[in-house]
Amino acid sequence: MTSNSFKKNLFWLGVQRELLSILGSLPLAITLFLVIALCSTVGTVLPQQEGPQYYQQNYPDQGKVLFGFLTWKVILALGLNDVYRAWWFLALLILFGTSLATCSFLRQIPMLKSARKWRFYDNPKRLKKFALFTEVPATLEQLIQEFQQKGFQIHTEGQKIYGHKGLLGRVGPIIVHVSIILILLGGMLGALTGFKTQSMTPDGEQFDFHQLTSPGPWTVAPKWQVKVNRFWIDYRPDGSIKQFYSDLSIIDTDGKEKARKTISVNDPMNYDGVSLYQASWGVDSILFRVNDTPWVKIPMRPLEQVINGKETWGAIIPLDNNDQAKMVLATNGLQGTVQAILFGAKQPIPISLKPGVPAELTPSLRLEVKGVTGATGIQSKKDPGTVLVYTGFGLLMIGVMMSYLSHSQVWGFAKDGVVYFAGRTNRAQITFEREFMSVASNLQNRQSGPSDVIRAEPSALSKEPRR
């Protein structure tokens, strides 16, 4: 290697090291937390994933411009209409993940290594540097006993001791970082290879996966189909909805049934890595006839307006050519009556139609509804990243609980009948301070007999009320 290329290497090594130390630094981490938080708020204030027309109408670039800059052009250019899938938001998350990983290798693991080392001191000057330091006439054995009673693991070297507890509190944050990286990776895997789709299927019909709304670049769609054998709703006596049920069958390409299950909200079906959830519902059609005509299937559509405080579906049947006479059919759900309203006379005529019970308007005009057919909204999802995400969840919960522990360390040595000792902790300063005081006062009491015990109780440290 020539000296020139060596220098060049050294230069790049320096740059690399500098970059890594910035990437793993705390100020960057804190900035990322707050920036991601701030960007996330955007999506909760600005309506997301609407069509371009929506933004053109509501955020015009002429006249009254929101905040003076928020026009539809800005929104669409920055991807604010879909913040959480915008390239810059994903870039932030990737930077976040990289920073986490770097911090683990550059800071956490070295810190854990150094925390695991046993150090011994026998110089009071060294110990005096600690905020908690004292000296008490006692023996080393007594000091060891006292600390052991407080749960410290004590190591000795001659007349010197080193004690520690709560080392798991230093392992916890590393697990937290690893688990968050797993969750981010799992999310990425899911976005690349999974899919999620909604279908509204009438009772008795089938749906398949030929048209997925937003598949990932490596998504493989299932070949099989799903048949809705039956969809129904359980109502409470007061008419409110208790539960939705869909009886589903998986039908393979040969038309054979491979699996069958009745799903409900909170109880999905799993087949071939795909989960099928009861997500929503609607009214598909009603079977209707006038007098003795054959049953006619009338498709129902969701109405904009809410009737009786509930969602409503309806259909309009024109009765003449100039839109004067018409009949409106409306229903709130699969249960109860269908409302028919006849327009064309002076007053609209409302008629309640109970399924199976013909309503006679005049002796020669009879309306009848046979039944209401529902449609079930099934959400289908395949997410191969779930395993990683769930592993991450599990580890995250463990790691974050471990991180509550405070890592405490104590050092001490004995000299001429006096023990000198000092200590520190990384989280629970107050608790540790009290422990330390209690060790000091217990040692004092051992020397001077029990008569002074009460006065030297550590609770006397701070007399309420302080302020």
Partner: protein, 334 residues
Amino acid sequence: MNLVDIQNVLDNASFATLGVATLSYWVYAAFKKPKWISDLASIGMSIAALTTTGLLVARWIESGHPFPVSNLYESLFFLCWCICAVHVGAEWFSRERLIGVFTAPVATLLAAFASLVLPANMQTSAPLVPALQSNWLMMHVSVMILSYGTLLVGSLASIAYLWVTRKAKNLELRGSSIGTGGYRRVDKAETVQSEPKTSPQTSYAFQNAEGGTLTMETEAPVATALQTSSLADILDNTSYRLIGLGFPLLTIGIIAGAVWANEAWGSYWSWDPKETWSLITWLVFAAYLHSRLTIGWQGRKPALLASLGFVVVWITYLGVNLLGTGLHSYGWFF
């Protein structure tokens, strides 16, 4: 008396007790005496914790739900209970009454909002909508509100800290997690000044100078003075420990919600406003916890982040529902 009457009595009793506790804390903070009024304040908070417990238990028996948190009224009182309980714990831990000046009014406002502002038809218990009929409801909602309660008291301790140190300069706290705080302060002059309370000295009673220096006077070889925590230190560390406790709870609550959503709707994360704001809360408190590790960031900066967290928790808990959209819009009147 039936269960509904009991609930009404306990509901009003909680509000009244909390009101008395708040006033007592404020009177004591203003005049620093009499001692009994500070005791009254503390006892008031404990009683309020008990009356809200009774209220929730009565509601639990009456509704027959797996857990009595299914609408806004119940959730407000559960949060009120959490704040009272965490406050009692924090007071016991810190041996400080100052936190109550800030926690008691928050608990009072919660009780007042639930029992006076909410319309009567929203106070009664109602059957659960299909989406909420799951065992995950108890796990997710109870842990979330428990975390809100802990985080709120924790950030209130930080606000108390900001109040105490409002005139102070050159703060150096020992509460940092990297260990710089584990070392001795050079300057012993403390930031929070008030006249040292000198208790009569006998052989080696601990003298609790307000400045935070604790001396052990002994007849034996003179012991080195132990530096202990000042009021500011105590508030700072209490806040840190509470947020350190609330953060895992928040994490577990969010994860429980994510797993539930995945089992019920097929998506563990859908950027629903409530989800997003719980993530924002998580990020802000994560920033707080990391700021405490940062050299040169001890003291007021983390406390300011915690105060930001206080606001964010309220947005997550109540504010998001004002938007009225998303998966979490049932069971609320907005």
